[in-house]
Amino acid sequence: MLTSGVILLQANLLSPNPGLIFWTAVTFVIVLLILKKIAWGPIITALEEREKGIQSSIDRAHQAKDESEAILRKNNELLSKADAEADKIIREGKEYAEKLRADITGKAQEESKKMIAAALSSIEQEKHRALDVLRNEVADLAVMGAEKIIKTVLDADMQKKIVNSMIQDLSTKRN
């Protein structure tokens, strides 16, 4: 009882106590320094590292996504380019084939025309030669006929008639 009364007299709710302030300061500073060394340093370093790790993971993921998107775009580009290339090659091939066909046909036609022309000219030549041969043959026959006639019937009037009729005959035959 007595102690509590004495304490109540000594102490007041707002009375300053420099000793307690001193102890508070000393205790707090020591705790602060020790905790800074053993706890806050490692904890905050770990938290910051984790934050950085998470951030870099997110960054990496974004980067990978960007990269894959770029690759996909590139692939699509390549694919469409290849399609265009194939189209072009087919078109060119078709064009070439068309041209080649036209060339060959043209050449063949020309060739055939030439051949026909050559055949015609050679036929003409043969005809001329045959006619020449025939003329010579006819002249020889005429000479031979005349020789025979002259040898057998030497009659002036008759001879004249015969020669005339023979010439007549020859001319009609020839035409």
Binding site: S4, I7, A11, L20, I21, F28, V31, I38, A46, L47
Partner: protein, 338 residues
Amino acid sequence: MKRLNVLHPKALLKVMAILVPLLVSVGGVSGLSYAQSPSVSAEVVSATAAESGHAVPAAHEEEKAGDVIMHHIFDSNIFAFHPFGEIELPKIAPVAGIDISITKHVVMMWLVSAILLIIFSVVGGKYKKMTNRQAPKGLTNAVEALVEFIRLDVAKSNIGHGYEKHLPYLLTVFFFILLCNLLGLVPYGATATGNINVTLALAIFTFFITQIAALKAHGLKGFLAHLTAGTHWSLWIIMIPIEVIGLFTKPFALAIRLFANMTAGHIVILSLIFISFILKSYIVAVAVSVPFSIFIYLLELFVAFLQAFIFTMLSALFIGLATAHDGHDEHAAEVAHH
């Protein structure tokens, strides 16, 4: 002392006005052996109940109630473990005119420090071993939630650039105050933060850290220019004293807020318990004292966290204001109304 005696009958009158019907009906019951009633309250706050059990049987209950409440709240050289006896703490000879004897609150602070050191040496050790691919669990996880809260929501959002420098102080002050507050709610404990000297010492740290941060951020010239608040020179005679007073009121308010909150809660709990002793009624004890003191006790648990947070938050805010290049005290004043 005198002031308290004046206040107490007034409070009692109010309580009486509420409890007159109860008192009338309870007259017979109160005749029972009264000395056992502390055992009822012991379930709630065994420390306070045990102390009151020691003090109450004396003749003048009404006077003694105030004494016991004050005895519980005040610092002393005696660490009492009623009914198991008490430990007289050693006296140390005054150094340079200052009495630096170890008191109850000093012992509580050391206890808090010891617990903090144990918890954080364990947690710190775990963090040293942990890679950043591992998630924390258990105690580490619980501590990390608080640390991360102080780091991001208190320090980073209030101080901004260069908050890392002040982080150790803010974290230490938060956990120190939190544990001091909580140990005050433990049986046989005492609330070190319910002592104005302790809170003042902590506020002085905040004051110095704030001023040093301001000096570093603005230089001596900027620091002095800040005292004029950028007004015309003819107003300096008004502005400079106001600004200088402003420098001191912030930490002072910090100290008073924490001290008053912690003290008030304890006085309310003890007063509620003492209502039953003063009125000598079991019904009052069961219907009023126990439920209300449980309620206040739970509220105190919340207040313990809240006040630790507010002290840290305001410290961070003051540091942030001191280092910020523009803006002034209006924002601080708004927040300081907690």
